[in-house]
Symmetry: C2
Subunit: 210 residues, 2 copies
């Protein structure tokens, strides 16, 4: 499984790198920071090198769109957006915080309630979508997560849905606070479980609305 | 407050960037990725640019030593280690996971039980130190955290100890899973509270053992 962690300038470090790190714990899986330029500068001035060009998102088996300070500019940029072609019939697709604006712009969230951060919430609502007071929601192969540390829910969902429950437990085990593994694992699994069974296969649309 | 997030090649992305991000939410505070070379490559091949040279750790008001795949090589490298001079009488000092090996090598953990990750645990124990089955521990101005996501405890401790309880709550509020803020805030504060009152001032040694 190849995973594109789509990351733009002004990115939130937690939102791109926590999910990427956890996914890279899964044997045989590989998550790459995927961006529109060779170098990307975070909201706190951390410069990272993209591991894949933006076009990689279209080929990856799963795509996570990260968050950042400039996501509203990103979705207003037609040239940039035309470089991303996602397909929920053959890809797992998820967003973190303001990354939901990208999924919305791509028409991937029709009739689905959205999880996002509190700062992005009014923009999602202004577009006519309902924002949940919850950290994670998915329908079929498309998911949204809200709040940076919800990244570990998002990773758990993707891994469980595509590689099984035990693979998710194993990947989480590397990153959970020492001594609190049981509590964190239980909460993460309980959070994503309602959205896993309906997402049994990525190769067929899970709902007619797609 | 200037904070050095000490980061070496082979670094764990979560261990350096989660604490840095949360700390950068505190008004007037600034956390910088601090490393021995201009570019640092993570355990998953993510290349980031150091924001400060390693020597910055000696001047910063607080130092967080990150974790990674090569920490045992780092502490065996006399030339590298000689570039880090830390002083718990004038600095807050903390480690994340294998970063505890650096604090140990610098003589900062004498007679103090240690929090670290499960992979580093045998190395800490082989050096004669006790490893706790807990995510966070501090004595005075020196703290250790174990498990990547314990980074938010570490950040909460530093911010509470140096800027007050409300500042810690505010900084956390930006990163907690949406809808679960209360649960996460309560747990984080409960985890670090026992270690805050004894760390009231950084300018005097809190225990005679230093």
């Amino acid at each position: 499984m190849r995973v594109a962690v789509v990351t733009f300038d002004g990115f939130n470090e937690i939102d791109s790198l926590v999910a990427a790190h956890i996914i890279n714990r899964v044997p045989g899986w590989r998550a790459d920071i995927t961006g529109p330029a060779e170098e990307l500068t975070s909201m706190n001035g951390v410069v990272i090198r993209a591991q894949q060009p933006l076009e990689f998102a279209s080929e990856a088996g799963a795509v996570i769109v990260g968050s950042g300070r400039k996501t509203r500019d990103v979705v207003a940029d037609d040239a940039l957006m035309s470089r991303i072609q996602l397909d929920p019939r053959r890809q797992w697709i998820a967003s973190q915080c303001s990354g939901a604006l990208v999924l919305l712009r791509l028409g991937l969230l029709r009739d689905v309630p959205v999880c996002t951060d509190r700062k992005t919430q009014p923009w999602i609502e202004a577009a006519g979508y309902r924002v949940l007071n919850e950290p994670f929601h998915a329908r079929g192969t498309v998911a949204t997560a809200g709040g940076c540390l919800a990244a570990h829910y998002l990773a758990a969902w993707l891994i469980w849905a595509a590689a099984g429950r035990q693979a998710a437990i194993d990947a989480l085990s590397y990153v959970l606070p020492h001594g609190e593994e049981e509590e964190y694992t239980f909460r993460a699994l309980a959070t994503v479980e309602p959205f896993v069974s309906g997402a049994a296969t990525v190769h067929e649309p899970a709902t007619a609305s797609w």
